[in-house]
Amino acid sequence: MNFWGFSISEARVIDYDKNDKTLAQIMATEVPSSKLCIGCGGCTATCSAGNLTEFNIRKLQMLAKRGENKELQTQLHKCMLCGKCLLVCPRGVDTRRMIWSMLRFINS
């Protein structure tokens, strides 16, 4: 209960040994440019879906790389594949292809 306006955060541990890294591996081979991301957030800033709702593509790709796929499963479908993120990325990350590959993985 958050009675006093304060709460204790849940423990946040990224357990690389337990996390499922299949998706991360697929991304690394199918979309090698995903490794170039510097997390600048340009993609999120321009995102058509992110403009309307809680949807952060920069964060999602970071989670995927860590093997924390749970949030991905519920969030990724919100993407409209419009491709704006691809055009603004300063690092040449093929974000749209990356999302497409992740979606295919999640759905199969």
């Binding site: 090698p32 440019s33 321009t46 058509s48 879906a49 403009n51 309307l52 709702t53 809680e54 949807f55 479908h77 919100k78 409209m80 594949l81 419009c82 491709g83 704006k84 691809l86 055009l87 603004v88 990325c89 040449g92 990350v93 093929d94 749209r96 292809r97 497409w100 979606l103 295919r104 759905n107 199969s108």
Partner: protein, 588 residues
């Protein structure tokens, strides 16, 4: 009466082929949807059938589209197509005049010179002999060209020629042997018994001087018959299936059967109607800029047909439509490619619930900038200025909470998800109560026109600007800037809009004509349809296209698509790249 065992290979081959084709086509046609079948029934006894007949003559026999692309290649195909056709028709008439019975067997006309005793004359026999020799000469000249093409493909203006399987080489050899055998058989017979005309008669006398033609004539007829029979037997398994299939496809197309989103019977017809002429290879920028020579329609269709893995080819295509615009068989290559991208989305009611229900202000004119429009604010500003100058009141549908039109989703195969976006956008467009919907993005434009089924007028901003200028609501003053126009794939080849941008650009600048005008415009490389190439490869395509345009030394490179503009400006900024709306806004 007229019979000799040597006609058997030909007759067996022909009959087996005909039976095979009839069974195959009927099996495909039976899988047409009831709607398609109704369409066929409605149109089969209409002028469309005549139109199709004309097209069959022009394309399957004269090959007039190949002529336009490459006269050498056109002549070569015509020699085979029209030549063979004439040989059959004129030969049949000749045999009828001689024998006066329609019911003589097919082989009688084909092997007429063998059965006809040369000393016996009939009306116009010399004219017929002359004609038949002329046609044979025409085919043989085409054959020589084809041989040269194999040896020196570059000399004929073709950079690349299609690669062949061993089986294809076999049937190619058989095909190439048919007419030389006929030539030899007729010449030998003429040398022995007389008959023939300038070609076979002279050749007969010539061969007689040093060959035992008496004993060679009969085997030559056997060889000719065997070559024909073998060709007919091999045809169904080779690329020459395109000869009969193309004709059926032309009829189906003219009757109104469309290539839909799924791979259906009409797709099968197209698969087999591809003649592997290879014209699509030279048109493809994935080949010219990236050296990728396995994804062009000729290879893509071949892989599907032979059941080879085509997963890369499914995704590796810009859908720029350059190949489709040049394909002499008029195959719907983009739509075919799209049928191979499966819909794997699992969307639920809540997936796109986050998209708010819009309520744009009501107005006569509605403007939709599109996602890409929002990436290039200068285009939106230009349009706002133009609306203001022209005194047009409008409602801006996606000013703040805009969503994607759905086409990028469709291009990825995800039609279910796309349909939700379509519904959402459609609701806000209808809410606006507009009569005219103007959009700046050719991608949205195509989707609005083809997938939204709106009952209002949809215009791309180039068309709308053209309208404003013609109505004198907008009076631009021409500047002396030299411009080159890059017609976006989705606008030109995609929606057939060529005249409007040309008019507008002429009104505001000095437009330079290029080799890339109209149907020949290049792809900027930014296409969302390609799900395979890497970003740096996109940049390569973009850079090559840019340099091709800049070779004409324009002051400004003008386009009409925010995605093209963004892609080009990202690549290089040697010369400013502007949208046509910006050009107009600056000059009025």
């Amino acid at each position: 009466m007229y019979y000799d065992p040597f006609v058997l290979p030909f007759s067996i081959g022909l009959n087996v082929l005909l039976i095979y084709l009839v069974i195959k086509y009927i099996r495909w046609i039976r899988t047409f949807s009831p709607k398609d079948r109704r369409t066929i029934r409605r149109n089969i006894f209409s002028l469309k059938t005549l139109k199709a007949g004309k097209e069959v003559f022009l394309e399957s026999l004269v090959h007039h589209k190949i002529f336009r692309t490459n006269p050498f290649l056109g002549y070569m195909h015509m020699c085979f197509g029209l030549g063979w056709f004439l040989l059959i028709v004129v030969g049949k008439i000749e045999s009828l005049v001689y024998h006066t019975s329609i019911f003589n067997p097919p082989y009688f006309a084909i092997f007429f010179r063998y059965f006809h005793p040369a000393q016996e004359t009939f009306p116009y026999c010399n004219t017929f002999a002359f004609l038949m020799d002329l046609i044979l000469l025409m085919i043989l000249s085409g054959l020589t060209l084809a041989l040269l093409k194999r040896l020196y493909s570059r000399a004929l203006g073709l950079k690349k020629t299609t690669k062949h399987r061993p089986f294809d080489l076999l049937i190619l050899t058989v095909l190439w042997l048919i007419f030389p055998f006929r030539f030899l058989a007729e010449s030998f017979t003429s040398g022995v018994r007389g008959g023939g005309s300038f070609l076979t008669h002279s050749a007969g006398n010539f061969f007689d001087s040093f060959l035992p033609i008496e004993s060679l004539a009969y085997p030559a007829w056997w060889a000719y018959s065997i070559a024909l029979g073998l060709f007919f037997l091999l045809l169904p398994f080779s690329r020459y299936m395109h000869i009969p299939t193309e004709m059926v496809y032309i009829f189906l197309k003219n009757w109104g059967i469309k290539q839909g989103k799924r791979f259906t019977a009409i797709s099968q017809f197209q698969l087999y109607a591809c003649s592997r002429c290879g014209i699509c290879i030279d048109r493809c920028q994935l080949g010219s800029s990236l050296g990728q020579l396995d994804t062009q329609p000729v290879y893509f269709l071949k892989k599907i047909r032979h059941g080879k893995d085509h997963s890369v080819q499914d995704l590796n295509c810009l859908m720029c439509g350059r190949c489709e615009a040049a394909c002499p068989v008029d195959l719907k290559l983009n739509a075919l490619r799209l049928t191979q991208r499966p819909d794997y989305t699992r969307i639920t009611r809540s997936t796109f619930e986050y998209i708010p229900t819009p309520s744009p202000a009501r107005n006569k004119v509605a403007y939709f900038a599109g996602c890409m429009g929002h990436l290039t604010p200068s285009v939106i500003q230009a349009m706002e200025r133009i609306f203001q100058k022209a005194g047009v009141d409008y409602t801006f549908i996606d000013r703040e909470k805009g969503i994607c039109c759905g086409r990028p989703m469709m291009l990825a195969g995800n039609h279910r998800a796309a349909s939700v976006l379509v519904e959402k956008n459609k609701a806000s467009i209808q809410q606006s109560g507009a009569d005219i919907l103007v959009t700046s993005c050719p991608i949205c434009y195509k989707t609005f026109r083809e997938e939204y089924h709106l009952d209002i007028q949809v215009m791309h901003h180039t068309e709308y600007l053209d309208l404003l200028i013609r109505n004198k609501q907008l009076i631009p003053h021409p500047s002396d800037q030299k411009t080159v126009f890059h017609n976006p794939c989705e606008l030109g080849r995609g929606c057939d809009v060529y005249a409007a941008p040309a008019h507008v650009l002429q009104a505001v600048s000095q437009r330079i004509a290029t080799a890339y005008d109209d149907k020949n415009s290049l792809c900027c490389g930014g296409s969302l349809a390609n799900l395979y190439i890497r970003p740096e490869q996109r940049t390569q395509i973009s850079s090559d296209a840019l340099h091709a345009y800049l070779a004409y030394h324009p002051d400004v490179l003008v386009t009409a698509c925010p995605l093209c503009k963004k892609t080009f400006t990202k690549t290089e900024n040697a010369v400013p790249v502007k949208d046509i709306a910006e050009m107009v806004a600056e000059n009025c």
